[in-house]
């Protein structure tokens, strides 16, 4: 790993400098993670007196549990929908802003601030809009002949959390798409225009392929976001209901572990989530390596 050509000769100082970061990391990250792995192989009796080592029983039980499998499927649907919806809207807005010169800045300011809104607050905002008794959206939908009640209808609850989660992520994707679009050389675009390619053809044959590294990066980040940072949104809107319809993995770990105190099962679910994050992080970093050479 890279360092400077000349370095300070001190023996003890670097350890002192690293101590705070390593202490926090070991105490609050590594140790708890190891504990989670350990208790995922154990069963605790109801009074917490004795724990028995049970190998992969917790995992076997999870993967035999229809609730867990359906949660896995719903998480996939949720993550993919949020990612596609949010990225599509953001790309459209970024392309539009990129066409403008001066007014683009004003639009950018108006579009980026939802990044700073907490997920749980986002959940409350959309919960208010879709509130079955007084909300604006159910009122309009009633006019169209659709009766909206996400407290009863699982699919509607899923749509609600997808909309809320995608809304929050628009600003983030937008900023990265704008940065990606600005790095496309203008000369390519002009050359294609001289050859007679219209704006839409130019977008799909030149610009879209050239920003594909950004698109791929955002794909990973968005899946990560939808799987792990949406706890607040689910908690504020549906609390995983109705009938487990929106009980995505990260919410299920919380309810099983913290509310129902099923430590072994929750730990095993944590470990599975850890493996998912590790996989996503590896994909993300390998891709960054390649982007440097791109």
């Amino acid at each position: 790993m890279q360092t400077k050509r000349t370095i300070f000769p001190s023996k003890l100082l670097p350890y002192i400098l690293l101590a705070p970061q390593l202490a926090v990391t070991l105490i609050f990250f590594i140790w708890p993670a190891l504990q989670a792995v350990k208790s995922s192989f154990e069963r605790e009796d109801p009074f917490g007196f004795r724990t028995t080592f049970i190998w992969f029983d917790n995992y076997r039980r999870i993967f035999a549990d229809p609730n867990y499998l359906s949660s896995l499927g719903r998480t996939a649907i949720f993550a993919i929908s949020v990612t596609l919806l949010s990225m599509a809207i953001s790309l459209l807005l970024a392309v539009a802003v990129n066409r403008l010169l001066r007014s683009g800045k004003v639009y950018t300011t108006l579009l980026v601030w939802p990044y700073a809104v907490a997920p749980v607050v986002v959940g409350i905002l959309w919960w208010f809009i879709f509130n079955p008794s007084i909300g604006l959206a159910p009122y309009i939908l009633r006019g169209l002949g659709i009766s909206w009640n996400h407290r009863i209808d699982g699919n509607q609850a899923m749509i609600l959390i997808i909309i809320a989660a995608a809304w929050k992520q628009i600003s983030y994707n937008f900023l990265f798409f704008v940065a990606g679009l600005q790095s496309v050389p203008q000369s390519l675009n002009e050359a294609a225009a001289i050859d007679g390619a219209g704006p839409f053809k130019r977008f799909w044959t030149i610009i879209f392929p050239l920003i594909s590294p950004t698109t791929f990066f955002l794909l990973i980040i968005n899946i990560n976001y939808a799987m792990f940072d949406t706890f607040g949104i689910v908690d504020a809107t549906t609390s995983g209901g109705p009938a487990q319809a929106t009980n995505i993995l990260v919410y299920k770990v919380y309810t099983d572990g913290v509310l129902n105190l099923n430590i072994g099962s929750s730990a095993a679910q944590s470990v599975i989530l850890m493996l998912i994050v590790i996989a996503l992080t590896i994909v993300q970093f390998r891709f960054v390596e390649r982007r440097v050479q791109y």
Binding site: F8, P20, Q21, Q35, Y172, G232
Partner: protein, 282 residues
């Protein structure tokens, strides 16, 4: 722009205005709701135009809070959030600056190991280690305390990487010149490295302040004493009580107050915000 196409320009503005409406509308609706009296939310449709109770609602929620929810007045929770967000941002920046400095400017045994231990934190968000982390904090006696809210969140791989990348771009000659002039490692760090890192520190502060402010699951776990509630977690309690009684006007006033500080930071420090966001994710 390559060619002049008036219709396409018109379409561009149309798309952007639609986008702005989508982004702003939920907050507009919440703001409007926060300016009405309780009678507006009993049945039918939510109001779409401002009402006369703005000052009254905000001063009620700011000074008294919602008595039925068991949450303290908003100003208490806002102060807790502010303290937590600033402490997390400052803490993350401080320990990351030090560890990046150690990794770049020194050679020592286990340097690579230290780097990897820091890297691993990227893969361990709170959500995947909830119960054991809670147990650690409980054993250290830090439940219901500011240390408990702040300390477990201040390890930062991204900040360390950002500073490491930045330190690597600083010319070696600077350090050599400082050594020739007799500066020790801490003097070089304080008088040369820190001033050079100013912009990066500021950009990172904006991002980390937002990160600290929007924390939800962690405060929910470690605080049961309402004196330590942060606004973002307290607001969920307010909202839950709005379901049984029509208190939407007060809840929405609290929602607006809860999002105001970080949103203002983004709007007024947009350049630093964009720099921080794009660079930390690289």
């Amino acid at each position: 722009m390559v060619e002049n196409r008036p219709f396409l320009t018109f379409l561009t503005h149309l798309v952007l205005i639609a986008g702005v409406v989508i982004v702003v509308f939920p907050v507009y609706l919440a703001f409007i709701a926060s300016t009405h009296g309780p009678g507006q939310f009993v049945s039918g449709l939510v109001p779409l135009l401002p009402g006369p109770h703005l000052v009254e609602n905000y001063s009620t929620i700011w000074n008294e809070g919602l008595s039925s929810s068991g949450a303290p007045p908003i100003w208490v929770m806002m102060m807790n959030s502010l303290l937590m967000a600033v402490a997390i941002a400052v803490g993350k920046i401080a320990i990351s600056l030090l560890s990046a400095y150690a990794i770049v400017y020194f050679k020592f045994p286990f340097r690579l190991l230290a780097f990897w231990i820091i890297f691993i934190t990227l893969m361990l968000p709170v959500e995947v280690r909830i119960i054991p982390t809670f147990a650690v904090v409980a054993n250290l006696g830090m439940l219901n305390s500011y240390q408990g809210l702040i300390l477990p969140l201040i390890a930062s791989a991204t900040a360390t990487f950002l500073f490491r990348q930045f330190f690597l771009t600083i010319p070696d000659e600077l350090m050599e010149a400082a050594r020739v002039d007799g500066a020790g490692p801490m003097k070089f760090f304080r008088d040369i490295l820190l001033p050079l890192s100013r912009t990066n520190i500021a950009a990172l502060f904006v991002i980390l302040f937002i990160f600290g402010w929007v924390q939800y699951m962690w405060p929910l776990l470690v605080t049961s004493d309402s004196r330590y509630y942060t606004i973002v977690m307290g607001i969920k309690r307010l909202a839950a009580s709005a379901d049984s009684e029509p208190l939407w006007h007060l809840v929405m006033a609290a929602v607006i107050l809860a999002m105001l500080p970080p949103v203002l930071v983004v709007i007024f420090m947009q350049r630093l915000f964009v720099k921080g966001l794009v660079e930390t994710e690289k």
